[in-house]
């Protein structure tokens, strides 16, 4: 029934970790203003602009620039899988030879059901795995089927691996990049002056 999810779609080359981009005070203020989401009003960018003391076009232009620079990966509706019937989620981890990790990472990230695919360091002896994927499914068996498909399609039969199903969710929300609650003073600081 879920056959459509099992396509392997070749993807463009992975984006390596971007060198940390230096963001100006105006960009940081904008990020702080939108990190919890845009207001659900007719003119959300104007509402953000009013908060920041700059123009609506300026907010739109800067968000577009942040997207262009790859700082914003995507802009849109962020869903919560569990509430939508995707009750099973697993972190699937692999211990891949270092020289093959990029190639396999690209292979695994080509599946539509993979929502994250990262290389991370090993921490021996507790943690031998260096490639991480997140997959969601309606139930455990759906996730395991996807797992088997990944092994088959990317040739991972002999690679040490583990499937870490989630049990309880203790917390889930978007990351807060700017500590807005801690530093209300910054808003009154001279970021304003028409510069958004």
């Amino acid at each position: 029934m879920d056959m459509r999810t099992r396509h392997y779609t070749p993807q463009p080359a992975a984006t390596p970790v971007a060198a940390p981009i230096t963001l100006g005070a105006a960009d940081l203020a904008l990020i702080e203003a939108i990190q919890r989401g845009l207001p659900l009003v007719s003119r959300p960018y104007a509402a953000v602009a009013a908060r920041l003391g700059c123009g609506e076009e300026e907010v739109i232009r800067r968000i577009a620039a942040l997207q262009q620079a790859g700082i914003i990966k995507r802009l849109g509706v962020v869903v919560r899988h569990r509430e939508l019937g995707y009750g099973a989620n697993a972190m699937v981890v692999w211990d891949v030879p270092d020289e093959e990790v990029a190639e396999l990472g690209r292979c695994l990230s080509g599946f539509e059901f993979v929502t994250l695919c990262y290389r991370r360091p090993r921490r021996l002896p507790q943690w031998p795995y260096n490639l991480f994927c997140m997959i969601h499914g309606r139930d455990r068996e759906a996730v395991m089927e996807k797992f088997r498909l990944m092994i088959e399609s990317c040739g991972l039969e002999t690679i040490p691996k583990a499937v870490l199903f989630s049990r309880r969710r203790f917390k889930q929300r978007g990351a807060l990049y700017r500590p807005s609650a801690v530093a209300p003073a910054t808003r009154a600081d001279p970021i304003v002056e028409g510069s958004c």
Binding site: L40, I72, G87, P121
Partner: protein, 163 residues
Amino acid sequence: MADSAIMQTASTMPLDPLEQSLLNDFQQGFPLSPTPFAEMAARLGVSEEQVITTLERLQQRGAVSRVGPVFRTHSIGASTLAAMCVPETRLEEVAELVNRFDAVNHNYEREHRLNLWFVATAPDEAHLQQVLAEIEERTGIEVIALPMVEDYHIDLGFDLQWT
């Protein structure tokens, strides 16, 4: 601490076609025009108000976390995935302590010897390390930090596949 309450796995909530479309078709490419909801409404053949109220409702029901940006990990600030091996009897207590940190945005129990997995995000590396050290100190349990080294995934959202 409503945010950190332990949540049950929800059963599928019934969704009408407008809700399904808003959830599935607008995970990326949110219009960068002055009236983005009106633009979505025009595409869907409904009113702007319907789009806004439906999104509000989906947010209240927990299906939508937010309408807005997903930032690339590491492009702003510092963040890491971290794992802990927590004795079963202490799991809730430790999870709650971890949740209390504003820097922690995700926190899950997983099936492994390392059974508590969380993501912490802070304005800079020093702040992040301080959070991890504090969690370690207050729980007496080692925190294994596993920061991202490379991202292979192009985030196009998630196909919800209504069937």
